[in-house]
């Protein structure tokens, strides 16, 4: 056992062979940020093309590759790995465990991720171009009419799915078996709870995604006809399978964000989280409902009325547990001694904007109304309000909140607040007008548009450039903090913070909780 108390190894091998949850968490976070920049660059190309009507910069084929890769890279490369990184860093420290339950598998689940995205990005340079069928890769666009690079796309989905499944198995095994004595399930911090439930969702639906792309692979190369009417298959089947994965997927993205917000708001409201138990039950209820609402993404395929009604009511039902969460956060702040440091600003931005995204989601859930909204920019506005202002804002909040604990240096509060306000304003300038052009009939994934949408699109593009620039400021803030931030050694960075992670030294030592703490 002699090697128990050593520090990190030197050089590159530290990162290649590390089994330390903090190292792996750090790698996940940096990897996801680089993917965030890559996906953001694709978004900038999209918005530059849409700055004015008519074809400006890129040809339509390349535009389609950009919308596809932007979606894939942001969902699978930026948002999901960033929360896995956060889970790696924080879950062992929050439950008083020395490391993850399966440290070697942890190393592997990270290191297969960069090759997967290298393969995906390399399709850009292949003959016939990158995948161009949208991140939802509906058959037959992704089978009969797909570019040859689709096979590489399928392989990269397999690999990153494997990475997600291994990561979630690790998280569940850690949470179920490695909690400190006295840490009962109902004493776990909410971030741990939301991740536990998210991990179960991942284990259940990532294999379904793998199944869908495997069927595509067989249709393309091995003469089966799962999605081809020629051999008795059905393209609509693809949509059912995809969204059976895809709807739980959106909760996989947002539940850890809920967890982050539930950690941060009590700290800066200086009050315990209101309705802890109901938060746990609401999370579980959302996870359950996510499995029975998938067809609300496909109201227009020609379902029987009974089906439309079932999926409509089931979808509306999700507003109840989500409302419980939003009201609990608001009630936590009620009469709290609130201060507005950067993490809190991002959480409040989250609260306001995510709620707007939730309301537009409710509008989209109404089957008869959805026939107008379907595949329009209204949908684009809706899911960016929940994905960006939901997941990305909460991720930014998490970084500012825990960065002092990670590196022992304090970020510059003025710079952090500047990042927030530019993000907040830029985000709204980008996506709020998209509601209007969507309702007026502008379809999504389109490189050119009718003249009446020109003003709002230019506004949207300007907002996108502002929002994109604010993320460079984010990068600067993080690097400046790590390199030259004011050193801090207070165990509790924030006066109102609660939880085991604030009981360890700052910066967090390489090994923490080698002897488990006693939780009362």
């Amino acid at each position: 056992m002699g090697d128990h108390h050593h520090g990190p190894a030197k050089g590159l091998s530290r990162w290649l062979f590390t089994t330390n949850h903090k190292d792996i968490g750090t790698m996940y976070l940096w990897f996801s940020f680089s993917m965030f920049i890559l996906g953001g660059a694709f978004a900038m190309i999209i918005r530059a093309e849409l700055f004015q009507p008519g074809m400006q910069l890129v040809n339509p084929a390349f535009f389609n590759q950009m919308t596809t890769l932007h979606g894939l890279v942001m969902v699978f490369g930026a948002i999901m790995p960033s929360f896995v990184g956060l889970a790696n860093w924080m879950i062992p420290m929050m439950i008083g465990a020395p490391d993850m339950a399966l440290p070697r598998m942890n190393n592997w689940s990270f290191w297969i991720l960069p090759p997967a995205f290298l393969i995906l990005a390399s399709t850009l340079f292949m003959e016939g171009g990158a995948p161009n069928f949208g991140w939802t890769f509906y058959a037959p666009l992704s089978t009969t009419y797909a570019p040859p690079s689709v096979t590489y796309f399928i392989f990269s989905i397999h690999v990153l799915g494997l990475s997600s499944i291994m990561g979630s198995i690790n998280i569940i095994a850690t949470v179920m078996n490695m909690r400190a004595p006295g840490m009962t399930y109902m004493k776990m911090p909410l971030f741990v709870w939301t991740w536990l439930i998210t991990a179960f969702l991942l284990v259940a639906v990532m294999p379904v995604l793998a199944g869908a792309v495997t069927m595509m692979l067989m249709d393309i190369h091995f003469g089966t006809s799962f999605f081809s009417a020629a051999g008795g298959g059905d393209p609509v089947l693809f949509q059912h399978i995809f969204w059976f994965f895809g709807h739980p997927e959106v909760y996989i993205i947002i539940l850890p964000a809920f967890g982050v917000v539930s950690q941060i708001i009590p700290t800066f409201a200086r009050k315990p989280l209101f309705g802890y138990d109901s938060m746990v039950y609401a999370t579980a209820a959302i996870a359950f409902l996510s499995f029975i609402v998938w067809a609300h993404h496909m109201y227009t395929v020609g379902m029987p009325v009974a089906g439309e009604l079932f999926f409509m009511y089931a979808t509306m039902l999700i507003a109840v547990p989500t409302g419980v969460k939003v009201f609990n956060w608001v009630t936590t702040m009620w009469r709290g001694a609130m201060t507005f440091e950067t993490p809190m600003l991002f959480c409040m931005g989250f609260l306001v904007l995510f709620t707007i995204g939730g309301f537009t989601g409710l509008m989209l859930s109404i089957a008869p109304a959805d026939f107008q909204y379907h595949d329009s920019y209204f949908v684009v506005a809706h899911f960016h309000y929940v994905m960006v202002a939901g997941a990305v804002f909460s991720m930014s909040a998490a970084v500012y909140y825990w960065l002092p604990k990670w590196c022992g240096r304090m970020y510059n509060e003025t710079m952090g607040k500047t990042h927030f306000w530019i993000s907040f304003v830029g985000f709204n300038i980008t996506f709020f007008p998209q509601h209007f052009v969507g309702l007026a009939g502008m379809p999504r994934r389109i490189p050119d548009y009718a003249l009446q949408f020109a003003d709002f699109n230019m506004m949207s593009s300007i907002g996108a450039f502002i929002y994109g620039a604010s993320q460079i400021l984010f990068l600067y803030n993080v690097i400046a903090t790590i390199v030259a931030g004011k050193p801090t050694s207070e165990a509790k960075t924030w006066e109102g913070a609660e939880g085991l992670e604030w009981t360890v030294a700052t910066p967090a030592p390489y090994h923490t909780f080698e002897t488990p703490p006693q939780v009362r």
Binding site: V203, A204, V208, A230, D234, L237, H240, I241
Partner: protein, 186 residues
């Protein structure tokens, strides 16, 4: 609760990994057949029954006339000339009707085709009974030859009264490669 290992971590991992494998298999083993069963049972997607209908003598409802439109489409890369002999018929529910589709294989080699029907509005699919249809079987055709393919159908007397026009669409697919061996033996 079932325990597969005395080590609790191994126990959790084995259970979760099995769940993942089961979910992967679930897509192939359950979702695909379930989808087909549901489509059949609910009569959605305009899929008509793939088997011949045995008619029940219920009399012809001469008070009602339904327009039947025929549409023929070639799937991508299918070179046959394929189409209905008449594009439209007016029929009475309960009566037996005959029509033919003609097909010509312009290539010098023998081919096999499969026609896939679809009925619109899809609600009408359950009331469109085919007593004989070329779509029930694969259709072989020698090179540079043509054939008349019969269709015999009855519109159910219970067809909802708001449906006045039914479109029957056939898409013809080249399945020569799929039946490969058997055509050579013929």
């Amino acid at each position: 609760m079932l325990r597969v290992s005395s080590n609790p971590v191994v126990d959790t991992v084995v259970k979760l990994a099995s769940t993942a494998v089961i979910m992967f298999a679930f897509v192939f083993v359950v979702m695909v057949p379930l989808y087909n069963v549901l489509c059949d049972a609910l009569g959605i997607n305009g899929k008509t029954s793939g088997e011949a209908y045995t008619s029940v003598q219920a009399g012809v409802d001469e008070s009602r006339t339904v327009t039947i439109q025929f549409v023929a489409t070639n799937n991508e890369g299918m070179p046959w000339d394929f189409g209905p002999s008449v594009t439209m018929m007016k029929v009475h529910p309960g009566a037996s009707n005959d029509t033919v589709f003609h097909a010509r294989n312009p290539l010098p080699r023998a081919m096999v085709a499969q026609a896939i029907p679809s009925v619109s509005p899809s609600r009408a699919a359950a009331y469109f009974h085919k007593t004989e249809c070329f779509c029930f079987n694969q259709q072989p055709l020698d090179g540079d030859s043509s054939a008349e393919m019969p269709l015999q159908f009855i519109i159910d007397r219970d067809l909802p009264s708001d449906i006045h026009t039914i479109t029957l669409s056939y898409t013809i697919f080249d399945v020569t490669d799929m039946v490969g061996g058997s055509i050579a033996a013929r």
